[in-house]
Symmetry: C3
Subunit: 343 residues, 3 copies
């Protein structure tokens, strides 16, 4: 979908690398084993070193120690994976912005749309919304009253921003994401639930990516806050008044309950849950499907759950888990008895 092509020597310049071997035009990228003529590849994991001698890649990003093993040309860099990430963006599937407003888009007269922005068909933009320079607002996106979209931010098709949401610069919000729906707040009147209006907003920083069908609720009284550089995968649920610190990355299907504060530079693996009103320290790493039900004060890796095992064996162990406290008492009794016997 991209017609981009550039000389290997120019790619090397972009990543402060040194081209070793002949120069040529690069128009794509692939893994070592699948790359063909005209394509860029990379070696970042020693596990794949054995693929190097036979790769058909036109040019390979490597560290100095592997340069001699590349059968074609090499670009020598300190961190091949990082260099590959940077160069990969040249081959992104996204077309460049085509400024203007599609005829079927509905823009409220009071909205302010920068002329360099692109508003696609079917987008619906409410009162007092501000869309900044070089933004892309995809097909059928809905932006509610008073929302702000920072420079060079992309809202892919079918994104919903509720009123009062603020998004920074260079963000990507994927399709189906819903930002600013009501937090889940109710008071009980003895018979049922009385809704607490959610009067806060959502404030999202710069360089944030939000995955498909992820939901970020508006705050109850103050804002839900996503700091700069946060990366959220698909189908994540961020409840009202959560705060997520800079450059934290969260994998798919994780949920963070209300008012919890996640530190900066954390990683949370998929399908994890963090209960409400907790504080998670900077630099915390949570493994997949972990339930965090108390604050974490010290950075490090944390887990919960049990490992997978054959079902029949698991069933026996699960029964024993229910008796675990009792088993522990029995061991304690045994220790006393044995101590007495030994005396």
């Amino acid at each position: 979908m991209t017609d981009f092509a550039e000389k290997a020597s120019d790619l090397a310049l972009r990543v402060d690398g040194e081209l070793v071997g002949k120069d040529s035009l690069i128009s794509g990228m692939s893994t070592l084993d699948k790359a063909c003529a005209g394509q860029l590849s990379f070696l970042s994991n020693a596990k794949y070193q054995k693929q190097l001698p036979n790769t058909q890649a036109e040019v390979v990003l490597v560290t100095a120690e592997f340069a001699d093993l590349v059968p074609s040309s090499a670009i020598v860099v300190a961190n091949p994976y990082l260099a590959f990430a940077k160069l990969s963006q040249l081959f992104d599937w996204r077309a460049s912005i085509a400024p203007g407003i599609a005829p079927s888009a509905q823009i409220d007269a009071t909205a302010e749309i920068d002329p360099s922005a692109q508003i696609a068909d079917g987008a619906i933009i409410g009162r007092l919304v501000k869309v900044s320079a070089h933004c892309y607002i995809g097909p059928n996106v809905v932006i509610g009253e008073g929302a702000l979209v920072g420079k060079s931010t992309r809202l892919e098709a079918n994104v919903t921003l509720y009123p009062g949401v603020s998004i920074g610069k260079r963000c990507i919000i994927h399709s189906g994401a819903v930002i600013g729906a009501d937090g889940f707040g109710f008071a009980h009147d003895g018979q049922g639930w009385v809704k607490i209006a959610q009067a806060g907003g959502v404030s999202i920083g710069d360089d944030v990516e939000v995955g498909a069908n992820t939901t970020i609720d508006r705050g109850a009284l103050s804002d839900t806050v996503i700091a700069n550089g946060v990366k959220l995968d698909n189908q994540i649920q961020i409840a009202h008044n959560v705060e997520i610190g800079e450059a934290t990355a969260i994998a798919g299907c994780t949920a963070i309950a209300g008012s919890t504060r996640i530190g900066s530079h954390c990683t949370i693996a998929g399908m994890s849950g963090v209960t409400g009103h907790l504080e998670i320290a900077d630099g915390t790493h949570i493994t997949a499907m972990t339930l965090v039900s108390k604050s974490i004060k010290k950075s490090g890796a944390y887990s919960s759950g049990t490992g997978v095992e054959p079902h029949a064996q698991w069933k026996r162990n699960v029964v024993r888990f229910r008796q675990l406290d009792e088993l522990s008492q029995r061991v304690k009794n045994l220790e006393k008895l044995v101590k007495k016997l030994a005396e």
Copy 2:
């Protein structure tokens, strides 16, 4: 986003409270520590009592025992949290309904739209749909053939109702929710899966809230049923023929499998799962990330899973979990041996 303002004395009347101190105009609300002049706040948790002497709030909802500690005016009520919930709705971000049909909405000629309802841009309403008085149908909402939307119900932007879905009065359905998609029903023919048409519908009562990107499937032969007053958070999955009893509240990312009946007045915390064909008693409470795989006949609190711990320690314990049944046998053997030795 709201221009609402009302005298403190009138707010007191709305919640059967007594205003103590001078009257003044209230135009917002906040927490005790962040409130400023002109704002309403509340004290419902003794933990925050220490914030009371220094609050800048114009008026504070309190019980009688704390009235004297309020530096400004107080509204004395029996249940400040509940009173706050009720008053918060006056400050809701939602604009009042602007009756009429936006020009870009597509309404089938056979649909019946009450003239007091608002149909926003891009909404698409199918054959024989009925939209009742004072409804709000948001931008790009799709309503399938024959669906019914009760009085004063709101469908926020990008909601999808499949054909034959029925929703009661005063409900809020948040963006991205999908109601009435096919239940997951297949028969195996020895080689692959044969689809079972899902001929039932979805029946939702009054005063129900459905969170963003929540999905509620249509029944296979009869309806999936959500009773009055049920509150569903974001990204919940309700499978075909589930029934959920009155005033039950379910937090984000929970899934209820097919044909399970959840009682009334239950609470289910986030990321829990309830397997199919179960019965969960009225007044059951399930903690976060619990898997309920058998019926619960007695109300009370239930849990599964393990608690979070440092990853290195967890790994050792997980290995032991796989040996738990064996460990239990070893303890039993020890007990026998020790008993013999003691004789």
Copy 3:
């Protein structure tokens, strides 16, 4: 919603069954206990045999051994459940395709739409898209550049296909599904995350069903692949470069992490997670809310987690789980001591 009616004798022909008793017109279907005149029912589980004598169903699908117990007419087949599945499709709520393009749909001039396809209101179809014969493209669906939709496939309302997605024949993609969003790929530069462009696509085979709000990410360098006959329930997350084998069925809210290969003819129950870069053997069955964190080489049933129990008891057991490795050591010590004492 359906006006379909057919004689019982013709239904019998469709499933190679034998009609026993009088012939009549069948216009609906239901369970044995709820069926009424004119309706088809079935007995596939001995548990429901007791409902047979009193059923009001006009005709009942049964195996030969139960034919005499049917009070009305019977259709005798080898597998009543499978026969019911096949016949149920005659009563599907979906209207037949009405070929043509709705006036408010936006179709790029370079897109190729088969004249037998139906494009509903508000659908937005991009450059070079190909929509095949007898497709249904629902209201407000968005299809990105170059995507392909195979014959007789349905995209229900509000589906999003990103550029470059390919879908086979006779698929059903439910509302809110997002196919082809960027995989979650970043390199760390020491300070934050650098995006890795996701240059692969998504390739979906024939006869695949994708549930509401399910997300399937595009691959990083090569495609994410869903084979023929795969059935995905609602709110499933399929990460980049996952491959799912033929006729595998996955229940709601399960997540499969990047580059994992799931075999064919597997079943994965709801809310399970499979971590990245694993291989899961053909014919593997995973129970609900299981975390699979290592490859499974042998088909069979697998599980993780603990069973539900009353919260107070669970709390004590969870404490003991954290001490499980230590408990195991204590038992080992006891065994040594007791052995010595016994000598």
